[in-house]
Structure formats: structure tokens, C-alpha cells
């Protein structure tokens, strides 16, 4: 039977609840903590922006995939497809008087309409950082080291950050004609080395020429310092921009080693992200458990000028839903106390609950019907919680509040004969203390 439309989610979106939501929140908090420790401050921008704002930052293909709607005045609005452009707008307006550099972080849902061949979800939560007003290699290195720190904090160890340099590739490709250059850039963006190679060979019939062999070798150069040395050799055929880009890469590499994260990083000179706004060092992160990239970013020194505040900038985002798939679930069981009571005992039960909450415990209180308050049911709960080390699923007894099923570690059942405590000694102790402070009328 067909599922009813009103029960479905739009394609490319997800729901998160219970343990999955807890896992998600744990990851998000860990990243925010990491960013906070590097001095980044959280921001939030609207989910809706004028489409004209994104036109400043996105290329045509991306603009086509925006979800658009119209406001009453006929202006085109868009659900944000990414966060870098809104951050640029914010920096140029609300934050225009703030001292530089600006260190900003966010966790934001973003939306892109899926094509017929969906490679990515329509709804993606980007947890990211932007560093505005610092054009040094140290700023680029900070971005990368912070990503390594974030991934390591999540318990990941098998991951690698690939680094490229848009300025280097650009300068190298400037040596060929405009048409060929466009084809080569397109091939690199598509990661299609066959077309790339064929195009290089098509430029010059003499594949032994210095330029040809340099361009052929370029996308195959990967590694650490030795790769950069190779890049410098190839840059001899290029103009000064290529050599400056090499200095930049060496500088970033050196800083990364000094951050102590060199072993997580490798240069991949063929890396050329499909995005217009990148101008310098670019990065992509991968973990062994996931086939797709888990974070990406880079330097974008020209974007802010389009908003009237020329500032160098670099940034990076992590893909929260992908992290959920890659990070081991380590969230402890919730320390929830399920407290149920008969109507007559409400004052005591709620008083005890308030007391427990004051001590930092989570307490879910539920009224249960008088006539069903049977000892039998109580026994059912007792059995379930006796063997639960916190992880096992308690019985589906109506005594346990619905929202707490499967996670409650302790239970209190309060009927006219008094409270029955099912939990560890600590609960008994807390009850004793509660009683001392307040005599029981019930």
C-alpha cells in the first residue's frame, strides 16, 4: 500500500529523535567546544535570505539548485544553500565595526534541491568556522589544525585532510589558451584526469615540452614537503604567481607541522573545488569509514569585497549528518528517573521531583490511573530495572512515562502506601535526604 503523503518527508531530508538525536547533539557540542577553545564565537543568521545575496557568492549551477520563494513584495527569497555568503553579509553589515580578525562559528541547516541523481541530501547541517581579516598562512593553518582537532575530539583517528591551492593551479593553467584553460579547470573540478590529460596533449603535439610535462604531472603530485618541492620545480615554467603560491603552501605546511598535525595532512595539487569564490589554500577532509568528504573549505579573499567590505577570509565546514555516520556512538544512557504517582500523592511526588531536578537529575513525572495501580504492574517495572545497567530496555509498563521508555535508569512509584524506589543506593539516599527536609503527609 502506498504511504500517505502527509506521513512522508520530502526527499533528501531526515528526522532525528531519541538516541540518534542525542548522538547528533553530542557531536555538535564537541565541535562547538573545539571551536570555542580556538576563540571562535557563535553566530546565527536567518534561514531565509534574499536570492540576490547568494548571487554574490554562488556560481550558476549552485544558484539553480536553490529553493526559492517570493515575499509579498515580489522579492525572491531563498533557503540558504550554504553559510559562507551569509557570514560575508553579516561581516559587512552588523559586524562592520568589530575589531579584526573576526572568528565566527555556526551550526546551520542548509538546503539545496537535489537533481535526479542525488549525490547529497537536500538538507545538510553545516557546522563551520570562518576567520575574517587575516590573510596569513597561519590563518589557513589554523583552519586546518582546528578541523583536525575537531575530528580527533570526536574520537576519529583514521582521517586525512587533503590540501590544494587554487592560486597555484590557476597560475599554472594561465600558461595555456583560454579555451584549453577552461577545459582543464572543468576536468579538475570533475576529477576527470582522462579528459585533463587528453586536453594537455591536445594543446601541444610535443608532449615532451616543459609546459606539457609540467601540466601532466601537476594533478598527480600528492604528499608532504616533497610534493611541495616538486610543485616548486614545476612552477619554474609559470609566472611569479605560481612561485608565490608555492611559498604560501610551504608556509602553511610548516605551520601545520608546528601545530603538530602534519601527519593528518597531505597536499593534492589536483584538488580544485567546484566553487568560484576560492582564491588560495583549499581543503577537503576524509575519514576511513565514509566514502564522501566530511569537511571542506578554503581561502576566499574576494567574496567580502562584493559586500562592500574587502577582507581576506578563510573558512571550513563539517557535514553533521555524515559525521553521525562516521563517529562511534559513545553517548552514555540518559540518567533519567521515571517517577509515577497516584493523584492523591501528587504533592509529595512533585516535591521530590523538584528536589531531584534541583540536584541536576532528569525526572519525568507521570500520573497513573488509580484503578490500575496494581502491585503486579509494579513488579513488572521492578524486574526490568533490576537488570538494567542503564542500557537495557525496561518493560513497556504503563508506569514508565512514554518519553522515557528504554532510557529510564531508575523508577519511583508513589502510591498510597508510599514511594517504592527502584534504582541504586544513591536514589535511596536522596530520598532519605528529601524526607528529612520535609515530613510526608501522605
Amino acid at each position: 500500500m502506498m504511504m500517505k503523503r502527509f506521513l512522508e518527508r520530502p526527499r533528501g531530508t531526515r528526522d532525528f529523535a531519541l538516541a540518534e538525536m542525542q548522538h547528533r547533539a553530542t557531536i555538535e557540542r564537541a565541535l562547538q567546544k573545539e571551536f570555542g577553545q580556538w576563540g571562535y564565537q557563535p553566530i546565527e543568521t536567518p534561514l531565509l535570505e534574499y536570492a540576490a545575496t547568494f548571487a554574490k557568492g554562488l556560481h550558476e549551477g549552485e544558484e539553480e539548485r536553490m529553493y526559492r520563494l517570493f515575499d509579498a513584495a515580489g522579492q525572491t527569497l531563498a533557503l540558504r544553500p550554504e553559510m559562507t555568503t551569509p557570514v560575508a553579509r553579516l561581516a559587512a553589515t552588523v559586524l562592520s565595526e568589530e575589531p579584526l580578525p573576526l572568528r565566527l562559528c555556526y551550526s546551520a541547516k542548509t538546503y539545496r534541491e537535489q537533481g535526479p541523481l542525488a549525490h547529497e541530501a537536500a538538507e545538510v547541517t553545516q557546522v563551520g568556522v570562518e576567520l575574517l581579516g587575516d590573510d596569513s598562512a597561519d590563518a589557513d593553518a589554523e583552519m586546518i589544525a582546528m578541523m583536525v582537532g575537531g575530528l580527533a575530539r570526536l574520537g576519529l583517528s583514521e582521517f586525512r585532510i587533503a590540501l590544494g591551492h587554487v592560486g597555484y593551479v590557476s597560475a599554472m593553467l594561465d600558461q595555456v589558451g583560454r579555451n584549453a584553460r577552461e577545459l582543464l579547470v572543468g576536468a579538475l573540478m570533475d576529477r576527470d584526469l582522462v579528459t585533463y590529460e587528453r586536453t594537455v596533449r591536445g594543446i601541444s603535439s610535443d608532449s615532451e615540452s616543459d609546459l606539457s610535462s609540467a601540466l601532466l604531472e601537476l594533478p598527480h603530485i600528492r604528499g608532504g614537503r616533497e610534493a611541495l618541492q616538486r610543485a616548486r620545480v614545476l612552477a619554474q615554467s609559470g609566472d611569479n604567481a605560481a612561485r608565490l603560491a608555492c611559498d604560501d603552501m610551504f608556509d602553511v605546511w610548516q605551520a601545520l607541522c608546528e601545530h603538530g598535525v602534519g601527519r593528518f595532512v597531505q597536499f593534492d595539487l589536483g584538488l580544485y573545488p567546484n566553487h568560484d569564490y576560492y582564491t588560495g589554500v583549499v581543503m577537503e577532509g576524509y575519514v576511513d569509514r565514509l566514502g564522501q568528504r566530511i569537511c571542506y573549505g578554503g581561502r576566499y579573499d574576494h567574496l567580502l569585497a562584493k559586500f562592500g567590505r574587502p577582507l581576506p577570509a578563510t573558512g571550513c565546514v563539517l557535514h553533521l549528518e555524515r559525521l553521525q555516520d562516521a563517529v562511534e556512538v559513545s553517548a552514555p544512557a540518559r540518567d533519567l528517573i521515571a517517577l509515577s504517582y497516584e493523584p492523591a500523592c501528587r504533592a509529595d511526588a512533585l516535591g521530590f521531583a523538584r528536589d531531584l531536578r534541583g540536584r541536576g537529575y532528569q525526572v519525568a513525572t507521570t500520573l497513573y490511573p488509580l484503578d490500575e495501580a496494581s502491585a503486579k504492574r509494579r513488579d513488572g517495572v521492578a524486574e526490568a530495572s533490576a537488570d538494567s545497567g542503564g542500557q537495557t530496555r525496561p518493560s513497556m509498563s504503563p508506569v514508565a512515562p512514554t518519553g522515557a521508555r528504554g532510557v529510564a535508569r531508575s523508577a519511583v512509584i508513589w502510591d498510597r502506601s508510599g514511594p517504592t524506589l527502584q534504582g541504586d543506593a544513591l536514589l535511596t539516599e536522596m530520598f532519605a535526604q528529601f524526607q528529612e527536609r520535609r515530613p510526608l503527609p501522605c
Binding site: H119, R160, N179, R191, L193, T199, G202, Y286, G291, Q292
Partner: protein
């Protein structure tokens, strides 16, 4: 561990002839075996997946396989997000437009094919909008029963075409086997993938360049290259 996705069917024979020359040796008689995962005869860190050709891009894109060997025809249709590393210059056949002799390509409206993207691109660069009839097998039947004006399909020998009274009207490009890699694996297993890629490059003489019959630098505008 390096997981290599291989296509069952047409290309398997030529792939199996090539792999051992670069030190990758499936442990069993892959052609006759019913097993879907095959170990390497020598290297404990290598295994092979046998999958339907059209599924290779998905296996590699999602990282279930680190690398794959797959025809450009399938790769082009899948538009998968992966690295295309090398043209193996094997498994070569032609992508053609075929129909009854005398069919005027300029007036073609309905095209039956397994390769809608190729077909659409071929006619688009000729400023023609066509209607695609998506068919998964025995495409030659379509013009015979009036379902379409012509077909776009792969031909190796052309025998099926001629036995059904069809002729090649135009060529859309040459298809060959490609080495593709998952994006994560390309970074995390760089050494193993470079070894395979460099080995295959030497073994196939891929560095000698352009396949006959295709013009360089037309890949992004033309249908297939």
C-alpha cells in the same frame, strides 16, 4: 585493504587479462565462479567485487569499493562523484546512432536508448530536441516496431544491427574502460591507488595519448570521448 570493483559481463575478460600483469591476481576463475567477493591469490590486502557494470559507479562513489574498472558509457550516464584516473584503452567499442538506411538524422524525434545522456547531448549540440525512450535491453527492436526513429547504442561488431536490417547513421564516440577511484580512498589509500594506476598506465601504454577517432579537447561538449 584495497577493494576493486569489476564489471561482470562484456568487459570482464579483457580486465582479467590486464590485472595480473600489474600484480593484481583474482584467486579464482572469476568467469565461472558464482562468488561475488573474490580474494587476491597473492596479496591478502586486496579483494575484488563482481558487480553489474551499471552499479560500479555507485559502489565506488559510496566507498563500498575503493577503485573500479568500468566503461565510459556507464560512467558518463551515472555522473557519479568520483575520480576518473585512467583510460585503459581496452574494452573499446563505438557508441553509434543507428536506424534504417536513409533515415534523416535532422528530422529524428524519438530515440530509444540505454544511454539517455549520450543521446540527448548528441542531438543537443546539433540543436535538436529529442524525445528519449528509455529502454534497458534489445534496443534494436524499437525502430523495427515503430517505437522510435532511431537508437543510440554501443556496437562491438555490428552484427545485431545488420541482422535486424539496421545501419549505423552516425558515431557519437569511442568507449573504453576507465579506472575510477572513490574520493576518500584516493586520499586515504593514495599509495595503493597510485601503485595500481601507475601499473595500469605502464601496462596499457595509456600515456601514448589520444584514442583514434576522438578529437582532443571535446570531451565536455561532445557526447562521449
Amino acid at each position: 585493504m584495497l577493494t576493486v570493483a569489476l564489471c561482470k559481463g562484456r568487459m570482464l575478460q579483457s580486465t582479467l587479462a590486464l590485472l595480473p600483469t600489474v600484480g593484481f591476481t583474482p584467486a579464482e576463475d572469476v568467469i565461472d565462479s558464482r562468488k561475488l567477493i573474490i580474494e587476491d591469490a597473492v596479496r591478502p590486502d586486496v579483494r575484488y567485487l563482481l558487480v553489474k557494470p551499471v552499479d560500479v559507479p555507485a559502489f565506488v562513489e559510496h566507498g563500498a569499493a575503493d577503485v573500479g574498472l568500468v566503461g565510459k558509457d556507464i560512467l558518463y550516464e551515472a555522473e557519479a562523484d568520483l575520480h576518473e584516473l585512467l583510460d585503459l584503452q581496452s574494452g573499446i567499442c563505438r557508441m553509434v546512432i543507428a536506424g534504417f538506411a536513409g533515415t534523416n538524422l535532422r528530422t529524428v524525434r524519438r530515440v530509444a536508448t540505454k544511454y539517455p545522456r549520450v543521446a540527448r547531448e548528441f542531438f543537443r549540440v546539433r540543436s535538436q530536441q529529442i524525445e528519449i525512450i528509455d529502454i534497458s535491453g534489445s534496443v534494436e527492436l524499437a525502430p523495427l516496431v515503430g517505437l522510435s526513429d532511431c537508437i543510440v547504442d554501443l556496437v562491438e561488431t555490428g552484427r545485431t544491427l545488420s541482422e535486424n536490417g539496421l545501419v549505423i547513421l552516425a558515431e557519437a564516440g569511442t568507449i573504453s574502460t576507465r579506472l575510477v577511484a572513490n574520493r576518500r580512498s584516493y586520499q586515504l589509500k593514495a599509495a595503493a591507488i597510485d601503485e595500481l594506476s601507475d601499473g595500469l598506465r605502464r601496462a596499457t601504454g595509456a600515456h601514448t595519448g589520444v584514442i583514434e577517432g576522438t578529437k582532443p579537447g571535446t570531451a565536455r561538449q561532445g557526447a562521449v570521448s
